[in-house]
């Protein structure tokens, strides 16, 4: 999972308003494809996608103002077929035992736990 963050648009800028998502949840995006628009002062900026994959989570709604570096959404690089969710949820149970052994599949223990939480709601 790749975090999409509110970018810093200048030295003195500490927040930005997410004005429009240009892609829907579940939609495939290419790296560098325009993903959302933000507004700071009288400037609207199109933000390109940090990675190719499926826009799996939209965490900030249109019209909301958030601090820079806030995670506004996530991209699933794996491709977003339903099968991905199951192994991730299964990993969450044995994870405390041997996180090191799982390393090739799961990124870091901390983030895989977050992922499991996020998905258990679905």
């Amino acid at each position: 999972m790749i975090d999409i963050v509110m970018p810093q648009m200048g030295e003195s800028i500490v927040e930005g308003t997410l004005t429009k998502w240009l892609k829907k949840q579940g939609e495939h995006v290419e790296r560098d494809e325009p993903l959302f628009e933000i507004s700071t002062d009288k400037v609207d900026t199109e933000i390109p996608s940090p990675a190719a994959g499926v826009l799996s989570e939209l965490l900030v709604a249109e019209g909301k103002t958030v601090a820079i570096s806030t995670v506004v959404g996530r991209i699933d690089e794996a491709g977003g077929n339903g099968a991905v969710a199951k192994p991730a949820a299964a990993v969450a149970v044995p994870a405390p035992k041997a996180p090191e052994a799982k390393a090739p599949d799961a990124p870091a223990p901390r983030s895989s736990a977050n992922t499991a939480c996020g998905r258990s709601r679905n």
Partner: protein
């Protein structure tokens, strides 16, 4: 110094100007052309920014149509504004990666170019905290609204030169209930060419650009 081509396009419809900007933005992103500064004069047009509020449009679309005003929703920042004859509209297409990656500094620099230009004609324009644009005695003389894609700018500024200010009655400009003014109303007699010449000079200095007149070889 980086080069910047300056084009005075004269009277041009809003959509045509937008299409040209979009084309130039793509070419600028691909590094095919240097920075650009376009000057146009639009026919009567009202535009609404991406985060603008339609309630700031005070007339129905039928009334606008009857008054010969076209209406467009756009992707620039800012609220609602009016463009029309007698207004100097400037569209800089700049790659900010070659200047400063800072959208606020960009807007402040545009304001500075306008303020310095006005001084050439004896007018003291100022910034107003939280209200982008250039103001003279509490009235707005120039509006700013910008779009950025991959650090390349489009849209820009609109300076009221001999603008018929009556047309602003159809809107709440930029969503602010503040009066507007024009250089003509402020007593400036200079013509458009004189003003754009001054603007280009100050713009070039503020952005450290070497401006050259664009000469169209193919039409």
């Amino acid at each position: 110094m980086r080069a910047c081509e300056v084009r005075e396009l004269g009277r041009l419809g809003y959509e045509d100007a937008l299409a040209l900007q979009n084309k130039l933005v793509l070419e600028r992103q691909q590094g095919l052309i240097p920075d650009q500064l376009l000057f146009v004069e639009h026919p009567h047009t009202i535009t609404l920014g991406r985060n603008g509020h339609l309630e700031n449009l005070l007339a129905s679309e039928q009334i606008l149509e009857r008054s010969g005003i076209s209406f467009h929703s756009t992707n620039r920042g800012g609220d609602i504004t009016y463009h029309g004859p007698g207004q100097i509209v400037g569209y800089p297409i700049l790659d900010l990666r070659e200047w400063k990656r800072d959208v606020r500094a960009y807007v402040r620099a545009i304001e500075q170019s306008l303020i310095d230009c006005l001084l050439d004609f004896g007018i003291s324009g100022v910034r107003s905290e939280g209200m982008t644009g250039v103001w003279v005695e509490g009235r707005k003389v120039a509006a700013i609204g910008v779009h950025i894609s991959r650090w390349v700018t489009s849209h820009g500024f609109a300076l009221n030169h001999t603008t018929d200010l009556g047309y602003f009655q159809y809107i709440v400009p930029c969503g602010l209930t503040k009066p507007v003014t024009s250089l003509r109303e402020l007593g400036v007699q200079a013509g458009r060419a004189e003003l754009t010449e001054s603007l280009v000079r100050h713009f070039a200095r503020v952005f450290a650009l070497n401006t050259v007149q664009f000469t169209e070889t193919t039409k």
